[in-house]
C-alpha cells in the first residue's frame, strides 16, 4: 500500500512527446512505473519508449484504462490539461509545471474537489512510492533519499526534500510515499489533505512534513492534529526561520505577509498540537526515533 500511486496505477503522461515529458517517461519506466499511455494532441500513433501516444485523454483512457495522469505541460496550458483529464474520468493528477497563474490554480483545485479528484501541484516534483511507481521528476536513483519504508513524506520543496529525506534515511527509516504539494501560492492539494491519505494508509506509520514559511498549510496540519483527526505521529522540519517579512523567498508561496505564516509561528503551533519539529535537517532521524519510540 501507499498513497496516490502504487505499482497497480496505470499512469498517463500528458505532454509525453515534449523534451521533459519524454525524458521523464524514460525515468518513470526505469523506476518501474506502469505507464499506460501518453497524450500529445496531433501525435497519435507514435510511441515514446514503447508507450503509445494518443490525441486526447478521453481516447487514451478508453483504449488503455489509464487511471492517473502526470502532466508535462507548460504552465499556461496546465488548466486545460487538468480539466481534460478530469473530464475523461481521471481522479489522480500530478501537475509538474512551475508558473501556473493563481486564478487557474484556484479553478483547478475547485474543479478537482467537484469531481472528487486529487490534483497534486503545480510546481512540484510530484509523487513517488519508492520501489513501486513514480509520477514526477525525482532522482530515484539517489538511494540515500529514495529508499522504501514506512514514513510518509509531504513537502513543498524539491531540493530541500532531498536534503531532509536523506537525513531520514540516514536515521534508518524509509519512505512509503513522498508527495510534493508544490511551492505555489495556491497548490491544488494541501498538506492536511495529503495527511488524511497517509492517515488511512496501512503502509505508513508516521509522517514527515517538510514545510516552509508562508501560507497556512502547516497551521492546517496543526489544527488537524489538535482536533484528533490524525492518529499517526507527525514529525516536521520548517525552513525559513531567518527570512525577512514581506519578501517572496524563492517560492511564490513562501512569503510572510501581515505577520502571518512565519516559520516560528508554524513551528510553535505544530509543537502545541503534538508534532515533533526538528530544528535542523540532521535531527530528523532522532525525531522519528523518538516519535516511534525506537531505542538505540
Amino acid at each position: 500500500m501507499s498513497i496516490l500511486v502504487d505499482k497497480t496505477s496505470r499512469v498517463l503522461v500528458q505532454g509525453i512527446t515534449g523534451s521533459e515529458g519524454s525524458f521523464w517517461t524514460h525515468h518513470m519506466l526505469g523506476m518501474g512505473t506502469q505507464l499506460a499511455a501518453g497524450v500529445t494532441p496531433g501525435k497519435e500513433g507514435r510511441e515514446v519508449d514503447g508507450v503509445p501516444v494518443f490525441n486526447s485523454v478521453r481516447k487514451a483512457v478508453r483504449e488503455t484504462d489509464a487511471n492517473a495522469s502526470v502532466l508535462f505541460v507548460p504552465p499556461r496550458f496546465s488548466k486545460d490539461a487538468v480539466f481534460e483529464a478530469l473530464d475523461a474520468g481521471i481522479r489522480t493528477i500530478v501537475v509538474i509545471a512551475e508558473g501556473i497563474p493563481v486564478q487557474d490554480a484556484l479553478e483547478m483545485r475547485r474543479a478537482a474537489h467537484s469531481s472528487g479528484a486529487t490534483v497534486v501541484g503545480g510546481n512540484t516534483s510530484g509523487v513517488i512510492t519508492p520501489g513501486e511507481s513514480m509520477m514526477g521528476i525525482f532522482p530515484y536513483w539517489i538511494k540515500r533519499v529514495y529508499t522504501p519504508g514506512r514514513i510518509g513524506v509531504m513537502t513543498r520543496s524539491g531540493s530541500l526534500t532531498n536534503e531532509v529525506t536523506a537525513m531520514l534515511i540516514k536515521g534508518g527509516f524509509g519512505v512509503s510515499t513522498l508527495a510534493g504539494v508544490g511551492g505555489d501560492q495556491a497548490p491544488c492539494s494541501r498538506f492536511a489533505e495529503i495527511l488524511t491519505l497517509f492517515e488511512q494508509d496501512p503502509a505508513t506509520d508516521a509522517v514527515l512534513l517538510i514545510g516552509e514559511l508562508g501560507g497556512t498549510m502547516e497551521e492546517e496540519v496543526a489544527e488537524m492534529l489538535a482536533n484528533g483527526r490524525c492518529s499517526k505521529p507527525v514529525g516536521a522540519f520548517i525552513a525559513g526561520r531567518s527570512a525577512p517579512p514581506g519578501k517572496a523567498m524563492g517560492h511564490a508561496g513562501a512569503i510572510v505577509a501581515e505577520g502571518k505564516g512565519t516559520a516560528a509561528g508554524k513551528i510553535a503551533c505544530l509543537r502545541d498540537a503534538g508534532a515533533e519539529v526538528a530544528e535542523r535537517p540532521s535531527q530528523v532521524g532522532d525525531v522519528f526515533r523518538k516519535l516511534l519510540a525506537i531505542t538505540g
Binding site: R76, P101, L106, P139, G158, G183, Q185, A239, S242
Partner: protein, 379 residues
C-alpha cells in the same frame, strides 16, 4: 507585481467604477497643466509602489493652484525617478468604506471583503475589530451571485441605494480581479460622496506575475530596493537583499531558506538570498556575478538537485570562478544527479567538495568571521 495607483484607477474606470477626476504629471513641468485641468482643491499623490505614503508625506493636498504646483514639485524632489504625481480633484466625503478582492487558496475562491470603516489600515482593523470586516467567498465558476452581494453588503447597514451601488461595484471588482489575474484588488477608502455616489479614492492592484503573459501590463521593476535586486529581477533569478557577509548561491527555495537558517543558527549572517536552481541551474556565472555585487566575505554554494544537475552546476561554478576571479573563499556542498562528476569538477577547480550541508555552513560561517584573514581563495 503591484500596479501604480493611477494604473489601478484606470482599470477601475474601464470597469465602470467611478474614480476622481485626475491628471498624471509625469514630470514637475507638467504640474501646472495638470493642476489647471483638475482644478482646486486637489490632492497630490506620489506614484511610488511602497505603502504608507500618507505617513511618509507622499500624499498632499492643496487649496490653491500655486500651492498645488509647489507641493507637487516637492514630491518630485522627494522621490527622484518616480513614475509621476497624480493630481486629483478633492472629494466631498459622506462616508468611507473598504472593499477588496483577495485569493483564498484553502477554499479555492476569491474572497470579497468589505467594511463600513474605510480609510483605516485593514490589517489594523482586522486585529482590533474583526467583526467590522465582512468576508464573502466567491466561487470562481459561479461568479458573483446576487446572494453574495446580499451577504457582503447587508451587514454594512448602508442606505438602500448606496448599498445597491456598492454591491454592483463589488461585482465589478470581482470581474476585474478575475479578468486581470489580480491576487489583490483593494479600494481603501471607497468614498460615498454627499450625493450618494461611490468613488474609488485609492486603488491597489497586485497582478500575478505568472499571468503577465496574458495581461497587457509591463513588468515594472521599481519595487526592488537596490541595484542588485533590480539586476536579479531583470534576469528572473530569485534574489532578496540581506545584510550579512556570506554570499549565498543555492538551488531550490526551501533549501536556500534552510541554509540561511543554519547560517543564523551557527552565528553567521547571509548577505543575500539567491536561488539558481530550476530553470536557472545553468546560470552559475550570472548568479555569482550578482552574489559578488554584495562584496561578501565568502560564497557558500549548496545544492541537492534533480533536473538541476550537480555536474552542470559544478561546471558552471568552475567557469564562473575562471571568468570572475573572486578574491574570496568559496565553500561548496553540491549534491544530487551527477554528483560524483560534480565533485571531480570542483576538485579540479581547486575547491573542496563537501557533502554535508551543516558542515559547509559551519565552514562558511568560520571563514566569514575570520576577519582579515585570507581564506581558501579560489584559484
Amino acid at each position: 507585481m503591484n500596479l501604480y495607483e493611477y494604473q489601478a484607477k484606470q482599470l477601475f474606470a474601464d470597469t465602470g467604477i467611478s474614480v476622481p477626476r485626475s491628471c498624471l504629471a509625469e514630470t514637475a513641468e507638467e504640474l501646472d497643466k495638470c493642476v489647471a485641468d483638475t482644478g482646486v482643491p486637489c490632492m497630490l499623490k506620489a506614484q511610488v509602489l511602497r505603502g504608507g505614503r500618507g505617513k511618509a508625506g507622499l500624499i498632499q493636498q492643496a487649496d490653491e493652484a500655486h500651492e498645488a504646483v509647489a507641493k507637487g514639485k516637492k514630491l518630485f524632489d522627494q522621490c527622484p525617478g518616480m513614475r509621476g504625481v497624480l493630481v486629483e480633484g478633492k472629494l466631498s466625503i459622506d462616508r468611507e468604506l473598504y472593499l477588496s478582492m483577495t485569493i483564498d487558496p484553502v477554499n479555492a475562491c476569491v474572497t470579497a471583503m468589505a467594511s463600513g470603516r474605510g480609510g483605516v489600515d485593514i490589517e489594523t482593523l482586522a486585529a482590533e475589530s474583526p467583526d467590522e470586516i465582512v468576508r464573502e467567498p466567491i466561487n470562481v465558476f459561479h461568479g458573483f451571485m446576487p446572494f453574495n452581494t446580499r451577504n457582503l453588503i447587508t451587514p454594512l447597514g448602508l442606505p438602500k441605494d448606496v448599498g445597491e451601488a456598492v454591491g454592483k461595484l463589488a461585482a465589478n471588482l470581482f470581474q476585474l480581479a478575475r479578468r486581470s489575474d489580480a491576487t489583490l484588488v483593494e479600494i481603501n477608502p471607497l468614498i460615498v460622496t454627499g450625493d450618494g455616489t461611490c468613488v474609488a479614492a485609492d486603488g491597489k492592484i497586485t497582478i500575478d506575475n505568472n499571468a503577465l503573459y496574458r495581461q497587457p501590463f509591463e513588468h515594472t521593476l521599481d519595487e526592488y530596493v537596490n541595484d542588485i535586486e533590480y539586476a536579479a529581477a531583470r534576469e528572473g533569478i530569485p534574489y532578496v537583499q540581506l545584510d550579512g557577509d556570506i554570499g549565498l548561491m543555492c538551488a531550490g527555495a526551501g533549501l536556500t531558506n534552510t541554509v540561511s537558517d543554519l547560517i543564523h543558527d551557527f552565528g553567521g549572517r547571509p548577505a543575500n538570498f539567491l536561488e539558481f536552481g530550476g530553470p536557472h541551474y545553468r546560470r552559475a556565472r550570472k548568479a555569482m556575478e550578482l552574489t559578488l555585487m554584495n562584496r561578501p566575505k565568502v560564497i557558500l554554494v549548496v545544492t541537492f538537485g534533480t533536473i538541476a544537475r550537480a555536474d552542470v552546476m559544478a561546471e558552471g561554478v568552475a567557469e564562473a570562478i575562471k571568468a570572475l576571479k573572486p578574491n574570496i573563499p568559496i565553500v561548496t556542498a553540491i549534491r544530487g544527479t551527477g554528483e560524483d562528476e560534480a565533485h571531480n569538477i570542483l576538485r579540479a577547480a581547486g575547491l573542496e567538495p563537501l557533502t554535508d550541508t551543516e558542515e559547509a555552513v559551519k565552514k562558511a560561517v568560520a571563514l566569514a568571521s575570520a576577519k582579515g584573514e585570507a581564506g581558501t581563495t579560489a584559484q
